[in-house]
């Protein structure tokens, strides 16, 4: 008896500990970032976010090109991937909800999440970039091939599994009696999906999209390979750009000057804040729009 109570207490302690540990960890991240980037924080202040010039030679750092690069590629990626992911989810849960074919597609989607990002980068560089270049040649713009649009496409493929898996999960949780009630009233399958299933699972689907967006924001390797790594402000959807994650990956190893290092760490801090902010806003929207 005694032993049992102790175990229970121990279990509780572990649970509390782990939950608390996570908060400490995130807080620790935040403090470290601020301390390490203090030099650049004090030197550039708010101008760091609005500055368009990133010049390691003169020691002048502004992160606007990277901030916009990250946001544009991620949201564009999400816009491209969201309808596809949603259709896959509906298809898997309402049309082919069991059987061999269902398993094949489901595994394929899950497999997509497991592929290392560098493989996506390779695929982008060797398969997608030539295609985009052909397209650019045919419409008469600079045939870079790499750039923001190319990155957005690769990102959109990489984040399909996140939206698709979570959406499939929440769609399959829509109570059968609600659906059957709709059918018995004479609703067609399309009407059931549109009027019952999607509204019912809306917040879950949105949460899936949010997770996918988070993944797109932080994606480093694949994007670095195909975005063109140009540190100037993007002027069109096809122009080369750079993201916050890829500029850190590119420049951190050889950065020796202390201002330079601290500016790179400040980009890390900025990425951290942007991700946190988007997540919080997302959570707020989910809370406000729950319909059932």
């Amino acid at each position: 008896m005694n032993f049992k109570i102790n175990r229970d207490k121990l279990f509780r302690a572990i649970l509390y500990g782990s939950a608390f540990f996570l908060i400490v960890l995130i807080f620790g991240f935040f403090i470290t970032f601020i301390l390490e980037s203090s030099e650049s924080l004090t030197k550039f202040g708010f101008g760091f976010i609005t500055g368009k010039q990133w010049d390691p030679v003169d020691g002048h750092f502004g992160a606007l090109p990277f901030l916009s690069g990250t946001l544009i590629t991620s949201f564009l990626g999400l816009i491209i991937s969201f309808p596809i992911s949603l259709m896959i989810a509906v298809f898997l849960s309402e049309y082919f909800y069991k059987g061999f074919f269902h398993n094949v597609i489901k595994t394929a989607v899950e497999l997509l999440a497991g592929i290392p990002s560098i493989v996506f980068g390779f695929w982008g560089l060797f398969a997608l970039v030539p295609l985009i270049r052909e397209f650019q040649l045919s419409i008469g713009i600079e045939p870079y091939g790499v750039g923001i649009f190319t990155s957005a496409i690769v990102l959109s493929i990489m984040i399909i599994p996140y939206t698709a898996s979570i959406s499939r999960e929440v769609i399959s949780m829509v109570p059968t009696d609600v659906k059957e009630a709709a059918y018995s009233l004479g609703a067609t399958k399309f009407e059931v999906i549109r009027k019952i299933i999607l509204p019912y699972s809306g917040s879950g689907i949105f949460a899936g999209a949010l997770l996918a967006l988070g993944r797109a924001l932080g994606e480093t390797m694949a994007v670095t390979m195909i975005i063109g790594n140009s540190n100037s402000m993007p002027t069109s959807i096809f122009s080369p750009g750079n993201t916050m994650a890829s500029v850190i990956a590119n420049e951190f190893t050889e950065a020796t000057d202390s201002t330079y290092v601290s500016a790179l760490i400040e980009i890390g801090l900025l990425l951290f804040l942007v991700t946190a902010l988007i997540n919080l806003v997302g959570k707020y929207i989910i809370k406000k729009t729950v319909q059932f």
Binding site: P143, Y144, G228, P240, S246, N250, T253, E254
Partner: protein
């Protein structure tokens, strides 16, 4: 379930962090007790070093653990005293040497060079001057049929294509050598861009690493970029002849790169070889150095360990040089070797020279 996996992940992170620092410690201790030498730094000479260290291990039984983490990392690791020697493509400047506290010596080991490579139909041999290269990379010359290019290349058929500039996106010694040369030959480059391992490029696309630049150049019609000589040789990429300070167009070869060091070298060999006044030298060349503390009695290092380290470097600049050429590296010319010998002889333990 979620929380348990979180704990596991957190534990894994903590554990890997700890094993990392323990590893370094263990290696360090091992290095002190036995004869394992630790080094870290430049990626450019890595194939050469790893071949030489491997041969040395076969002959003398001395293990050398060299981590190719980049020149900047090599300097950091040496000054934080976690390695026995560092390696760098760009010599430490006065400020960095001051910050290191104690005197550091540079020992040149071989030479590298940067070549200008391109992708135009047929890939003919092009002749370029520093001014033209600078204007292309500044975005002022935008077409292959620009007069400034065609007048240098009479009889060569150049395409009526736009020039796509490709540069390195990661911080790199290659970029440093390239921009160091352009800074010397072009006032405009000096004021607009300058020299550094990472630059504020006015135009162009960035590729990560030599392979990234090479990949973009090979894919993009009408492109121009720069890569290491070693890389261009092993991938059969075209390389432009560059006009040197004596007015000769020099093809980048292992020989012409070695010849660029045929000048009066300062005693510490900390010199930039770009645009050197050697008549037959290729103008975008550079030494690559090993760096170590001049006084090796620090952090409880014993005499034996110091001796093993100095012997290793002595062997590298003498017997090791024969492994350079097969790997497309340019060996040290005689007079640079003499300087390296003098510097190595000045390395001390407790104030006494280790080599006699």
């Amino acid at each position: 379930m979620k929380k348990i996996s979180l704990i596991i992940i957190a534990l894994m992170i903590v554990l890997t962090l700890q094993t990392n620092s323990q590893n370094i410690k263990a290696l360090k201790e091992k290095a002190m007790g036995t004869s394992e030498i630790l080094g870290a730094g430049a990626t450019f000479p890595f194939p050469f070093y790893s071949k030489v260290f491997d041969e040395y291990n076969k002959i003398k039984g001395v293990k050398v653990n060299y981590q190719a983490i980049g020149s900047g990392g090599g300097i950091k690791q040496l000054t934080s005293k976690t390695v026995d020697f560092g390696a760098t493509d760009a010599f430490m400047d006065g400020k960095e040497l001051n910050e290191a506290g104690k005197p550091i010596v540079h020992i040149p080991t071989c030479l590298g060079a940067v070549v200008v490579t391109y992708n135009i139909p047929g890939n003919p041999k092009l002749k370029l001057t520093g001014d033209v290269v600078s204007a292309i990379f500044l975005g002022q010359i935008t077409s292959w049929t620009d007069k400034r290019i065609t007048s240098l290349n009479k009889g060569v058929k150049l395409p009526n294509q736009k020039i796509v500039v490709i540069h390195r996106s990661d911080g790199s010694g290659t970029t440093f050598i390239f921009s160091d040369y352009l800074t010397k030959v072009s006032k405009e480059w000096e004021s607009k861009v300058g020299r550094g391992k990472s630059l504020d490029w006015p135009v162009g696309l960035g590729g990560k690493g030599n392979q990234g630049v090479a990949g973009l150049v090979q894919q993009t019609p009408g492109s121009i970029g720069y890569v290491e000589l070693v890389y261009s040789k092993s991938n059969n990429m075209p390389a432009a002849l560059i006009k040197n300070s004596s007015g000769n167009y020099i093809e980048p070869t292992m020989n012409s790169v070695s010849l660029s060091a045929n000048i009066d070298l300062p005693t510490d060999t900390r010199v930039s070889l770009t645009n050197s006044n050697s008549a037959q030298g290729y103008p975008m060349s550079s030494f690559t150095w090993l760096i170590l503390y001049k006084e090796l009695n620090y952090n409880n290092r014993d005499y034996k360990h110091a001796k093993v380290l100095v012997d290793l470097i002595w062997w590298l600049v003498h017997n090791g040089e024969k492994y350079a050429q097969p790997l497309n590296y340019s060996p040290l010319p005689q007079q640079a070797l003499k300087k390296a010998e003098t510097i190595l002889k000045s390395v001390t333990y407790n104030g006494k020279p280790i080599l006699k």
